[in-house]
Protein backbone atom coordinates (compact mmCIF):
# COMPACT_ATOMS: atom_id res chain seq x y z
CA UNK A 1 0.00 0.00 0.00
CA UNK A 2 1.56 3.32 -0.94
CA UNK A 3 1.58 6.42 1.22
CA UNK A 4 -1.42 8.08 -0.46
CA UNK A 5 -3.71 5.10 0.08
CA UNK A 6 -2.45 4.77 3.65
CA UNK A 7 -3.29 8.42 4.38
CA UNK A 8 -6.75 8.11 2.80
CA UNK A 9 -7.50 4.89 4.68
CA UNK A 10 -6.21 6.37 7.95
CA UNK A 11 -8.33 9.46 7.38
CA UNK A 12 -11.48 7.37 7.29
CA UNK A 13 -10.49 5.39 10.39
CA UNK A 14 -9.61 8.54 12.34
CA UNK A 15 -12.87 10.16 11.24
CA UNK A 16 -14.91 7.18 12.46
CA UNK A 17 -12.99 7.04 15.75
CA UNK A 18 -13.38 10.81 16.27
CA UNK A 19 -17.10 10.52 15.51
CA UNK A 20 -17.54 7.84 18.20
CA UNK A 21 -15.97 10.09 20.83
CA UNK A 22 -18.43 12.96 20.32
CA UNK A 23 -20.51 13.42 23.50
CA UNK A 24 -24.14 12.46 22.92
CA UNK A 25 -25.53 15.89 23.82
CA UNK A 26 -23.29 17.59 21.28
CA UNK A 27 -24.02 15.31 18.33
CA UNK A 28 -26.24 17.81 16.53
CA UNK A 29 -23.76 20.65 16.97
CA UNK A 30 -20.97 18.40 15.70
CA UNK A 31 -23.03 17.32 12.68
CA UNK A 32 -23.87 20.91 11.75
CA UNK A 33 -20.24 22.02 12.12
CA UNK A 34 -19.12 19.04 10.04
CA UNK A 35 -21.58 19.60 7.20
CA UNK A 36 -20.99 23.36 7.19
CA UNK A 37 -17.25 22.98 6.81
CA UNK A 38 -17.77 20.41 4.05
CA UNK A 39 -19.73 23.03 2.13
CA UNK A 40 -16.84 25.52 2.34
CA UNK A 41 -14.09 23.03 1.49
CA UNK A 42 -16.09 21.70 -1.46
CA UNK A 43 -16.44 25.14 -3.02
CA UNK A 44 -12.91 26.35 -2.24
CA UNK A 45 -11.21 23.16 -3.50
CA UNK A 46 -13.04 23.42 -6.84
CA UNK A 47 -12.11 27.10 -7.19
CA UNK A 48 -8.44 26.31 -6.44
CA UNK A 49 -8.33 23.52 -9.03
CA UNK A 50 -10.13 25.64 -11.62
CA UNK A 51 -7.67 28.53 -11.10
CA UNK A 52 -4.76 26.03 -11.31
CA UNK A 53 -3.40 26.96 -7.86
CA UNK A 54 -3.63 23.45 -6.46
CA UNK A 55 -3.71 20.05 -8.11
CA UNK A 56 -4.69 16.65 -6.79
CA UNK A 57 -2.89 14.00 -8.89
CA UNK A 58 -4.06 11.04 -6.76
CA UNK A 59 -7.76 11.11 -5.97
CA UNK A 60 -10.59 8.71 -5.21
CA UNK A 61 -12.94 9.71 -8.06
CA UNK A 62 -10.57 10.80 -10.84
CA UNK A 63 -13.27 10.97 -13.53
CA UNK A 64 -15.88 12.83 -11.47
CA UNK A 65 -13.88 15.60 -9.85
CA UNK A 66 -10.49 17.27 -9.89
CA UNK A 67 -10.34 17.41 -6.09
CA UNK A 68 -9.68 14.73 -3.44
CA UNK A 69 -12.69 13.44 -1.60
CA UNK A 70 -11.62 12.06 1.80
CA UNK A 71 -9.39 14.92 3.00
CA UNK A 72 -11.80 17.63 1.82
CA UNK A 73 -14.99 15.92 2.97
CA UNK A 74 -13.89 13.97 6.05
CA UNK A 75 -10.50 14.96 7.46
CA UNK A 76 -10.66 18.78 7.37
CA UNK A 77 -14.30 18.92 8.54
CA UNK A 78 -13.41 16.53 11.38
CA UNK A 79 -10.60 18.90 12.45
CA UNK A 80 -13.03 21.81 12.42
CA UNK A 81 -15.71 19.85 14.31
CA UNK A 82 -13.31 19.08 17.13
CA UNK A 83 -12.06 22.68 17.12
CA UNK A 84 -15.65 23.83 17.59
CA UNK A 85 -16.56 21.25 20.25
CA UNK A 86 -13.42 21.98 22.26
CA UNK A 87 -13.68 25.78 22.13
CA UNK A 88 -12.74 27.16 25.57
CA UNK A 89 -15.58 29.64 26.06
CA UNK A 90 -14.85 30.34 29.72
CA UNK A 91 -11.07 30.73 29.46
CA UNK A 92 -8.97 33.85 29.08
CA UNK A 93 -8.59 35.64 25.74
CA UNK A 94 -4.98 34.47 25.34
CA UNK A 95 -6.01 30.85 25.77
CA UNK A 96 -8.75 31.21 23.19
CA UNK A 97 -6.38 32.81 20.68
CA UNK A 98 -3.93 29.97 21.27
CA UNK A 99 -6.73 27.46 20.69
CA UNK A 100 -7.57 29.15 17.37
CA UNK A 101 -3.90 29.22 16.28
CA UNK A 102 -3.24 25.59 17.13
CA UNK A 103 -6.53 24.40 15.61
CA UNK A 104 -5.90 26.21 12.33
CA UNK A 105 -2.26 25.03 12.24
CA UNK A 106 -3.27 21.36 12.33
CA UNK A 107 -5.04 21.22 8.92
CA UNK A 108 -2.59 23.73 7.46
CA UNK A 109 0.42 21.58 8.27
CA UNK A 110 -1.41 18.42 7.25
CA UNK A 111 -2.16 20.01 3.86
CA UNK A 112 1.40 21.33 3.58
CA UNK A 113 3.01 17.97 4.32
CA UNK A 114 0.79 16.01 1.95
CA UNK A 115 1.57 18.59 -0.76
CA UNK A 116 5.33 18.35 -0.18
CA UNK A 117 5.78 14.63 0.54
CA UNK A 118 2.94 12.86 -1.26
CA UNK A 119 0.99 13.01 -4.53
CA UNK A 120 -2.35 13.67 -2.86
CA UNK A 121 -1.97 17.37 -3.62
CA UNK A 122 0.50 19.63 -5.36
CA UNK A 123 1.06 23.36 -5.44
CA UNK A 124 1.42 24.52 -9.00
CA UNK A 125 2.69 28.05 -8.39
CA UNK A 126 4.68 30.01 -5.84
CA UNK A 127 7.30 29.15 -3.25
CA UNK A 128 6.55 26.76 -0.42
CA UNK A 129 6.60 29.57 2.16
CA UNK A 130 4.12 31.59 0.12
CA UNK A 131 1.88 28.54 -0.18
CA UNK A 132 2.09 27.98 3.59
CA UNK A 133 0.97 31.56 4.19
CA UNK A 134 -1.78 31.02 1.65
CA UNK A 135 -2.96 27.87 3.46
CA UNK A 136 -3.12 29.77 6.75
CA UNK A 137 -5.22 32.46 5.08
CA UNK A 138 -7.54 29.92 3.46
CA UNK A 139 -8.14 27.78 6.55
CA UNK A 140 -8.30 30.84 8.81
CA UNK A 141 -11.00 32.31 6.61
CA UNK A 142 -12.96 29.05 6.52
CA UNK A 143 -12.71 28.57 10.29
CA UNK A 144 -13.81 32.16 10.91
CA UNK A 145 -16.79 32.05 8.54
CA UNK A 146 -18.03 28.68 9.84
CA UNK A 147 -17.54 29.71 13.46
CA UNK A 148 -19.51 32.95 12.92
CA UNK A 149 -22.32 31.00 11.25
CA UNK A 150 -22.48 28.53 14.13
CA UNK A 151 -22.42 31.36 16.65
CA UNK A 152 -25.39 32.98 14.87
CA UNK A 153 -27.21 29.64 14.58
CA UNK A 154 -26.94 28.91 18.29
CA UNK A 155 -27.50 32.49 19.50
CA UNK A 156 -30.38 33.09 21.86
CA UNK A 157 -33.08 34.72 19.80
CA UNK A 158 -36.73 35.05 20.65
CA UNK A 159 -38.74 32.14 19.36
CA UNK A 160 -35.74 30.44 17.77
CA UNK A 161 -35.56 26.66 17.95
CA UNK A 162 -32.06 25.49 18.94
Amino acid sequence: MNIERFILFSGIIIFIAAFLYIPKGQLRQALLAFVLFQATTWFISLVLVQMNILQFPVREFPKATGSVFIPQFFIYPAFFTWFYLCLPYKSSKHYRILHWLISISIPVHFAYFIAVYTDLSQFTKGSLLRNLAYLYGEFGFQYFVCFRYLKWFYSEEKGKVN
Binding site: L32, A39, S45, L46, V47, Q50, T65, S67
Partner: protein
Amino acid sequence: MIDYPVRLFWKANATNFCFEYLVLPFMCIFFNLHYPDTKSTLRKVIYYLCILLGFTLLEVQVEKYTEILTYVNWYWFYTSISMLLLLYLVRTVYKWFFHLPKPFSL
Protein backbone atom coordinates in the same frame (compact mmCIF):
# COMPACT_ATOMS: atom_id res chain seq x y z
CA MET B 1 -24.51 7.33 -16.49
CA ILE B 2 -25.02 11.11 -16.84
CA ASP B 3 -22.81 13.58 -18.62
CA TYR B 4 -22.63 17.35 -18.10
CA PRO B 5 -21.07 18.84 -21.25
CA VAL B 6 -21.54 22.51 -20.27
CA ARG B 7 -20.80 23.25 -16.63
CA LEU B 8 -19.31 25.67 -14.12
CA PHE B 9 -15.73 24.79 -13.01
CA TRP B 10 -15.30 22.56 -16.04
CA LYS B 11 -11.65 21.83 -15.25
CA ALA B 12 -12.25 20.96 -11.62
CA ASN B 13 -15.51 19.07 -11.73
CA ALA B 14 -17.26 16.67 -14.10
CA THR B 15 -20.65 17.25 -12.45
CA ASN B 16 -23.05 20.17 -12.40
CA PHE B 17 -21.80 22.26 -9.46
CA CYS B 18 -24.60 24.86 -9.68
CA PHE B 19 -27.23 22.18 -9.41
CA GLU B 20 -25.60 20.25 -6.57
CA TYR B 21 -24.51 23.27 -4.52
CA LEU B 22 -27.36 25.71 -5.06
CA VAL B 23 -30.45 24.25 -6.73
CA LEU B 24 -30.71 21.01 -4.75
CA PRO B 25 -30.20 22.64 -1.31
CA PHE B 26 -32.73 25.39 -2.06
CA MET B 27 -35.18 22.79 -3.32
CA CYS B 28 -34.78 20.82 -0.09
CA ILE B 29 -35.17 23.99 1.99
CA PHE B 30 -38.46 24.99 0.38
CA PHE B 31 -39.66 21.39 0.31
CA ASN B 32 -39.25 21.21 4.09
CA LEU B 33 -40.57 24.68 4.85
CA HIS B 34 -43.81 24.18 2.91
CA TYR B 35 -44.31 20.52 3.80
CA PRO B 36 -47.95 19.82 4.77
CA ASP B 37 -47.09 18.45 8.20
CA THR B 38 -50.53 18.67 9.76
CA LYS B 39 -52.47 17.47 6.71
CA SER B 40 -53.51 13.96 5.69
CA THR B 41 -51.15 11.28 4.31
CA LEU B 42 -52.79 11.60 0.89
CA ARG B 43 -51.97 15.30 0.82
CA LYS B 44 -48.35 14.52 1.71
CA VAL B 45 -48.09 11.88 -1.05
CA ILE B 46 -49.57 14.35 -3.57
CA TYR B 47 -47.04 16.95 -2.39
CA TYR B 48 -44.17 14.52 -2.97
CA LEU B 49 -45.53 13.53 -6.39
CA CYS B 50 -45.99 17.14 -7.51
CA ILE B 51 -42.44 18.10 -6.55
CA LEU B 52 -40.92 14.97 -8.11
CA LEU B 53 -42.89 15.07 -11.35
CA GLY B 54 -42.34 18.78 -11.76
CA PHE B 55 -38.62 18.41 -11.23
CA THR B 56 -38.35 15.35 -13.51
CA LEU B 57 -40.27 17.15 -16.27
CA LEU B 58 -37.95 20.14 -15.97
CA GLU B 59 -34.88 17.92 -16.10
CA VAL B 60 -36.12 16.03 -19.16
CA GLN B 61 -36.69 19.34 -20.99
CA VAL B 62 -33.21 20.57 -20.00
CA GLU B 63 -31.74 17.28 -21.25
CA LYS B 64 -33.65 17.47 -24.52
CA TYR B 65 -33.07 21.11 -25.45
CA THR B 66 -29.76 22.10 -23.84
CA GLU B 67 -26.26 20.75 -23.39
CA ILE B 68 -26.24 21.19 -19.61
CA LEU B 69 -27.18 17.55 -19.14
CA THR B 70 -26.97 14.37 -21.24
CA TYR B 71 -28.37 10.97 -20.30
CA VAL B 72 -25.83 8.25 -21.10
CA ASN B 73 -27.21 5.22 -19.20
CA TRP B 74 -29.96 7.06 -17.37
CA TYR B 75 -33.74 7.30 -17.61
CA TRP B 76 -36.15 9.89 -16.29
CA PHE B 77 -37.59 7.59 -13.61
CA TYR B 78 -34.11 7.11 -12.14
CA THR B 79 -34.20 10.85 -11.45
CA SER B 80 -37.60 10.57 -9.78
CA ILE B 81 -36.54 7.68 -7.57
CA SER B 82 -33.24 9.23 -6.54
CA MET B 83 -34.90 12.59 -5.81
CA LEU B 84 -37.58 10.84 -3.75
CA LEU B 85 -34.95 9.09 -1.63
CA LEU B 86 -33.00 12.31 -1.26
CA LEU B 87 -35.99 14.42 -0.22
CA TYR B 88 -37.14 11.76 2.24
CA LEU B 89 -33.64 11.48 3.73
CA VAL B 90 -33.28 15.26 4.06
CA ARG B 91 -36.71 15.51 5.69
CA THR B 92 -35.83 12.71 8.14
CA VAL B 93 -32.55 14.36 9.15
CA TYR B 94 -34.32 17.74 9.43
CA LYS B 95 -36.93 16.29 11.78
CA TRP B 96 -34.27 14.49 13.84
CA PHE B 97 -32.10 17.61 14.07
CA PHE B 98 -34.88 19.87 15.33
CA HIS B 99 -36.26 17.22 17.73
CA LEU B 100 -39.54 16.98 15.79
CA PRO B 101 -41.70 13.87 16.46
CA LYS B 102 -41.60 10.73 14.30
CA PRO B 103 -38.61 11.50 12.08
CA PHE B 104 -39.07 8.41 9.91
CA SER B 105 -42.76 8.82 9.14
CA LEU B 106 -44.19 10.74 6.19
